[in-house]
Amino acid sequence: MQFTHRKLDNGLTIVAEVRPTAASMAAGFFVRSGSRDEPPELAGVSHFLEHMTFKGTARRTALDVNREFDELGANYNAFTSEENTVYYGAVLPEFQDRLMDLLCDILRPSLRQEDFDVEKGVILDEIARYEDMPRYRLYELLMGEYFLPHSLGHSVLGTAESVGAMRRDQMQAYFSRRYSPGNVTLVGVGNVDFDALVGKAAEQCSGWQPCDVTRDTSPPPPAARRKVHTDPNVAREQIGLASPAPSSQGDERYAATLAATVLGDVTGSRLFYALVDPALADEASVVYDALDGSGVFLTFISAGPEQASEALRIARRELAGFLDDGPTDAELLAAKNKIASGATLKGEVPMGRLTAVGYDWVYRGEYVPLADQIEALFAVTRQEVLEMARRYDLSSATVVALGPLEQL
């Protein structure tokens, strides 16, 4: 296994974790752009743009793009988050050049008006699809309540209104502002021919014009708000809590990952034993979301209406109680084993390493082999986790609920 990197004159960075014995290769363009970078009137433009990238270029129609991906037998997709838009694919090594030709090309989409109009309907349907998922609605409501007016509270999908009103020229301007090569990283993992990867990128992306791209990464002030959204069409009460956490750049991110696992992993966690094991909730979890310049701990609970208030009370008790002594030795070791095992298993397949390698570079400008990350994880002490938990007071959280209840 070997890590290499190169930077083109226009600022496009290419990094790769190369394992010549892997059966496949995975590659992705990581664009440092997401809903947090959108002006409010363009809510959803990053995500809509992600869709439009697959709708054709100067030398390919949308049907050409789809056909070529399928001809490669590619396992491919793209996603948009609050902070990143990522386009990726995994193929057998003999298809690397053709995959790269395709990926490099679509990163300069034509944004044709006719395609824009048709795809708008698809986005509107996607918005409707998520309206039928109370769990996702809760996530958006929670992020909004906790972060707004900070831009991390922006909805990734946007609304039917903001997407409905969006114009092609607005998307084009947004693209020109954000998709500067200096704001993009090309990542390769697995059985990669790095020289060919760089060669292809140089050939097709050198013409990408750079411009200054900014992002205000100052964190939001902590908030401890409370909001109950009543919807009789929702059967189970969805409850979310949000509180500050270390940023992606912080040294405490390993401690934060461990704390989230001890508190709210699917198996064997504090919330599992306090809520799921006695069937007070059918789902209870804590995740650590490491963001650019800030971070957030997110707690999710799903419970029947008659048990929801009790479930929330118990969850808050567990989060507050963690600040007394932190994790036990046994809990900490179990968390380390689970995380290490999960990362190892995932990393046996190139696609499983792509996001990790990409985010390490995008957020911290570094590459850390998985073995070193596991070593750093195991080096975290109980005291460090406890101090981190106290510094980022999990007991002071914004609470949002969505469901049949009028109050909690």
Binding site: A23, V65, F69, D70, N75, R129, R236, F272, A335
Partner: protein
């Protein structure tokens, strides 16, 4: 390159399967027992799900917490699920921890505590999973479609019914577990960093004296089929339709998988191109193949806004039917590439391989290597696909719709 496979059938009916894989440190196991929800007593639908949950709450010498802690300490990524014919226990861990995990799994299967005080919460969780389906209309649509398509009770939703769950008692569940968690028809498959002789010795020790029970197989009744509309004030209309396909092991099986690719294998496939790409009618439309031992189907889902529901439905049915008119050579070539690439990439994952081994043996009584699978895929011609679609035509659809209004089904009569 051919894989290193191992097969051993134990005297009492349990089968051991192994695939040695280089360059991986993990070993994944898939253990199936013939206790799926099709075996739930008719008045106790959901018994299998309760059993699966309850068996994890203490086994052998260990309490629930000790069981969880032991698996966590071994870095075991485990998952339990109830399917139609089988309950599946899967676990992935570093190869050196496999033996210790298997000891624990043997306890769960053979010596679950099944104590009175843990019965209530186990059942309550299944009841809550069932209730949560109301908040997941797309998933509910797929699950209930399967229930109505397959001969009853083979396609039954594993969560059961409120009445069935309410009828469960600790005693009846204990009898159910004792009757159905049995070696006859069980399969233990391991793929990855594997020591086959050691695994054989371990399996003998852990399972060799597992008592045999031979519960009666469920007697399939004609499927409910037909068209069903479940009213819901949802933002989307969720449309599911199913029709018969060639089961695994049938002579038309590989042609059916190629047909699946042409219809819905990617963004260039028929459904995505016609329904989403060209017309923007949906965000999600897809058709996938599913097989039980003797029955299989093509299951299609489309989610759309109410004002576009009729058009989406008609377009989707039209595309499924149009497949029967033939597929192009270009589509065949593309389908082959997609299938073979997926096979190779699946071959990198120890847990995907463990699942594939168990599935192969269950359906075919033997294991299929990459060469055989690639060769079979490569030999499918456009004529074969046509023959397959003639034998399994796009008709007699089972339909399930969840949404504010029912959808005009006139196109089905055409």
């Amino acid at each position: 390159m051919s894989e290193r496979f191992f097969v051993r059938e134990m005297a009492h009916g349990m089968t051991l399967l192994g695939q040695q894989m280089d360059q991986v440190s993990s070993a994944a196991m898939t253990l199936v027992v013939p206790a799926g929800c099709a075996h739930d007593p008719p008045d106790m639908a959901g018994a299998g799900s309760i059993a699966c949950e309850w068996c994890l709450r203490g086994a052998g010498e260990r309490t629930t917490r000790q069981l969880n802690d032991a698996l966590d300490a071994l870095g075991c990524q485990h998952h339990e699920s109830v399917r139609s014919e089988q309950v599946v226990f899967s676990a992935a861990q570093l190869g050196r921890n496999l033996a210790a995990v298997l000891e624990i799994v043997a306890d769960i299967l053979r010596r679950p505590r099944l104590e009175e005080e843990t019965f209530g919460p186990s059942r309550a969780l299944v009841e809550q999973d069932l209730a949560s389906l109301e908040d997941e209309p797309a998933r509910k649509c797929s699950l209930l479609l399967r229930e109505r398509f397959y001969p009853s009770p083979l396609g039954r939703c594993a969560y059961g019914t409120p009445e069935g769950l309410a009828a469960a008692t600790p005693q009846r569940l204990r009898e159910h577990v004792a009757e159905h968690f049995t070696p006859a028809g069980s399969i233990l498959a391991v793929a990855g960093n594997l020591d086959w002789p050691a695994l054989g010795d371990l399996a003998d020790r852990l399972f060799g004296d597992w008592p045999i029970r031979r519960p009666a197989a469920p007697v399939p009744q004609p499927p409910a089929a037909g068209v069903t509309h479940l009213p819901k004030d949802s933002a989307q209309v969720h449309i599911g339709l199913a029709h018969a396909a060639a089961p695994i092991g049938h002579e038309h099986y590989y042609a059916a998988r190629v047909a699946e690719m042409v219809l819905s294998g990617g963004a260039a496939a028929r459904l995505h191109t016609e329904v989403r790409e060209k017309r923007g009618l949906v965000y999600h439309v897809a058709s996938h193949y599913h097989s039980l031992k003797r029955h299989a189907g093509m299951f299609t889902y489309a989610g759309t806004r109410p004002d576009l529901a009729r058009q989406t439905f008609e377009m989707t049915v039209a595309e499924i039917r149009r497949l029967g008119e033939g597929v192009t050579d270009e589509e065949i070539v593309r389908a082959r590439t997609q299938l073979k690439a997926a096979l190779v990439m699946q071959g990198e994952s120890t847990s995907a391989r463990a699942n594939a081994l168990a599935s192969d043996f269950y359906h075919l009584g033997r294991l299929r290597g990459l060469d055989e699978l690639s060769g079979a895929v490569d030999s499918v011609t456009a004529e074969d696909v046509l023959d397959c679609l003639r034998a399994f035509p796009a008709q007699d659809f089972t339909v399930l719709v969840i949404g504010p209004e029912s959808v005009d089904m006139g196109v089905l009569e055409a």
